[in-house]
Amino acid sequence: MLQPENYPRYLGQALVLEPDPFVEMVDDDNPWVEGLFLVTSIAVLVGLAKIVGGLLLTASLPDPNAVLETFFLALRQVTGGAGLPAEAQEQVRFLWDLWRSAVGYGTGWLRLLLLVSLPAGWLLQWLVTGLLGYGGARLLGGQGSLNQTLGAMALMVAPRLLLLVQVIPFTQVSSLLLWTWGLLIAYRALQTAHELPYPRAAAAALFAFLGMALLTALVATAVGFFLGFWGGLL
């Protein structure tokens, strides 16, 4: 049975690597469903915070088109009136729009996509990391089931609660912090779900995260190439 009333306690304890939430997730009657609901809930909350943050950011900064035109004007002054060639200008506009979309600056209704893309991306990350972690742990002698692993690994989402502060624009949350903290929680999750000693649990968690990082790099490169061709940069 889903227990969302326990999520704040689970997340708080997982952040400080206390064993209770991992044990409770492993002993749950349906750990992966609990994990699915936990990850989705946090992703939707963070998505909402980012939407509000993006609106406030847009309201706190000048019109993005005016900013870009001012930049082009300055370039014309530096180059003695010549400015950038039309093709290069288009490329700069494309990169500017790409950056604006990433930070939610003047993106209009497009920012609502976050409510879908963020949960979808996080669920995918959870599934991939969970599967890799399960595979790694089993290879190293772990005894836990995939269901239990996915339930415990869902607590990796705990540090991403910090992203809620992005409801205030200009707040910076380092991805390195979120991933490193996530790695520590994944280590505890695998240690508990598979009853592994610390070096094996650490190796399994590292394997899952390196696999995830490799996959992310491959997907990012593919998307980069696609956007590059689309935007005429390549």
Partner: protein, 240 residues
């Protein structure tokens, strides 16, 4: 009603903080990771409060968000400084650009945009400290294990959280002339607390503890030096 017991779960006592800052070893073993987390967040917010007020005032005077206000300031400084001939036109245009960007205006009133951006910067203080605590801590912990330590991650993170206490001084950085000294003192003192905390939880000698703490720092510096060297070499080859 304010529940002191709940607060104790998330914060060590001021006496513990004071003992840790004075490098008394017993302080480092009497704290939980939960208390360390609460302490870092709270001290980060306290340290960032004066810079927040100063940033807000500075940005409100420009009537723009903080990053734009800083750019405008940099732009003014560029134009006031001595202009070296080959770069002079570019510097002058950049100075103009920065000031124009800050003057473009935004939908929110200037003071509010300034306040929101300064608030965002303020909230980033504890987040930066958490970043150091967790990410750098993991590197040190890996070295500790390599050197034979048997302590748990929780105990390690709990003790090293006390490094945030001297970092409070870095909140005085905006003070003219003395600010830089306060910041330097804060970092040196924090490193000393970090080494002592690491020694207390691992049982290492002072030298081994210092080695585990400073080796990742050296490795990171070396990495950036190499990266800069490669970049400079690439630039020389490209130009010549």
């Amino acid at each position: 009603m304010w529940d002191r017991t709940k607060m104790r779960e998330w914060l060590p006592s001021t006496q513990q903080m004071s003992d840790a800052a004075q490098l008394r070893p017993e302080a480092y073993t009497a704290i939980t990771m939960r208390q360390a987390l609460g302490m870092i967040v709270l001290l980060g917010l306290v340290a960032g409060f004066i810079p927040f007020l100063i940033n807000w005032a500075l940005a409100a005077r420009t009537g723009a968000a903080l990053p734009l206000a800083m750019l405008a300031r940099a732009g003014a400084a560029m134009q006031e400084g001595p202009l070296v001939f080959p770069a002079a036109p570019v510097i002058s245009v950049m100075g103009d650009l920065y000031q124009t960007l800050a003057g473009l205006g935004q939908p929110l009133p200037g003071w509010l945009a300034a306040g929101l951006s300064a608030l965002g910067e303020w909230l980033s203080w504890p987040l930066r400290w958490l970043n150091l605590w967790i990410v750098y801590g993991l590197l040190v912990m890996v070295l500790n294990k390599g050197l034979g330590a048997t302590n748990t991650l929780q105990r390690f993170y709990a003790a090293t959280g006390f490094a945030a206490v001297p970092l409070l001084l870095s909140g005085l950085a905006p003070i003219p002339c003395l600010g830089g000294l306060f910041r330097l003192a804060a970092w040196i003192w924090a490193l000393a607390v970090y080494v002592k905390a690491n020694q207390a939880v691992t049982g290492f000698s002072l030298g081994s503890s210092a080695l585990a703490v400073f080796l990742p720092l050296g490795a990171i510096l070396l990495f950036f030096l190499m990266l800069t060297g490669l970049w400079a070499m690439g630039l020389i080859f490209a130009l010549g």
